[in-house]
Symmetry: C2
Subunit: 204 residues, 2 copies
DNA sequence: CTAATTTCGAACTGTTCAGTTATATATTTG
DNA sequence: CAAATATATAACTGAACAGTTCGAAATTAG
């Protein structure tokens, strides 16, 4: 019989790996990549310096893990907002509203790790990751738009690819403005207006 | 008679103040705010360390001057693109194309100092400045849209305020994507599509 | 040519930082 | 309880950094 929860030999860790990464997310998010020192991470993650290097590696490695975990969570939330069984208009509006809400969340830094912090990291792997994340986001929206055609919410000649990109562009822009301090209420209103705009049928 | 070009007493400076600030712009743009050291500025601006402190102050002071000069230049170019005597569609498209072109300029860092670097600077004055710059940009576009109503390019009930913000949001989003490496050609095409979208009359 | 003034170049100083090492501590195995 | 193993705590090391100081150099004023 295989005991999966077999305690490993040696002194047990005093921290939770996943939890520490989540705390690291907050550290990077609030201080930016270059602004973060190892001591910031040691303090913020609650992990001793040598353990931090042994378990997670250096700053770059920690950031990459943080970024990927963050992207996964965000992507899941975005997909949830987009693909629940609502009207197309509501789905798109929800997607944009979610972007605004998570970017203006009190208690954590404003904006978004992927849009406001990661792009400044001068690292090829980070850039590649961001590009693929951008493409995935647009693909997700495009899928929803196609479903909208099937459901008859928008006409069959609706330019799904172009509009999908425009939806994600609005999400990006709203998130950026959240970061520099635009109030949530304003941005939520603009999210609605953006949803209305991108769903307009092709001009006659 | 006042001799304006009276040479000041003492050893003349070996650098040009304005030129040094332009070089500083490149330094901040390519390395981000936190990523820049005083030595980077000394090397990049061609100004000796003590002179740098004496003439410009510390890193924060230099960045503020750089940011303001940059914003002035950008604002002038944007106004030029928007307000030249062209069709409304061309004006808006030019505005967005200019955003893409300057964000994908070879030889200098991608993106834009105001959108990609400055928002991460954790400084109240910088944030206030950015907010006002965002508002100015939207106001400029809105003015052009109003002129478009006068000229009959768009109907009198055209939602100028909302669409003006949307235009600047597209500029923001396109600039951001330039930064993470989207090719100029792609972005230029999307600039056209964005211009078409935001000029659609209100839905019937 | 001398004194006054301003900038320049180089070096100095205390601090902060990344990454490592040494030792103590907690736990499993036998 | 003793040996083996893995983590925690604290301290160390060399490099990088911000801001300053000091003497040399370039210029004007007299």
């Amino acid at each position: 019989m295989i005991q999966k929860t077999a305690r490993p030999v040696g002194r047990p860790r005093s921290f939770d790996e996943t939890g520490a990464l989540e705390k690291a997310t907050q550290v990077f998010w609030s201080k930016g990549y270059d602004g973060v020192t190892i001591d910031d991470l040691v303090a913020g993650m609650g992990v001793g310096r040598p353990s931090l290097y042994a378990v997670f590696g250096d700053k770059r490695a920690i950031f990459l893990r943080v970024l990927k975990a963050y992207a996964e969570r965000k992507g899941a939330s975005a997909a949830k907002a987009l693909l629940s069984p609502k009207s197309l208009r509501d789905s798109i509006a929800d997607f944009l509203r979610y972007a605004v809400e998570s970017a203006t969340q009190k208690g954590s830094a404003r904006g978004c790790l992927m849009m406001c912090v990661a792009p400044l990291v001068n690292d090829a792997e980070v850039q590649r990751f961001l590009q693929s994340a951008v493409a995935s986001g647009a693909a997700l929206v495009e899928r929803r738009l196609r479903d909208g055609i099937t459901a008859g919410d928008i006409p069959p000649d609706f330019p799904v690819a172009v509009r999908a990109i425009q939806v994600t562009d609005f999400a990006r822009a709203l998130t950026m403005r959240a970061q520099i301090g635009s109030p949530r209420k304003t941005l939520l209103k603009e999210a609605e207006e953006a949803a209305d705009l991108v769903l307009q049928p092709r001009r006659v």
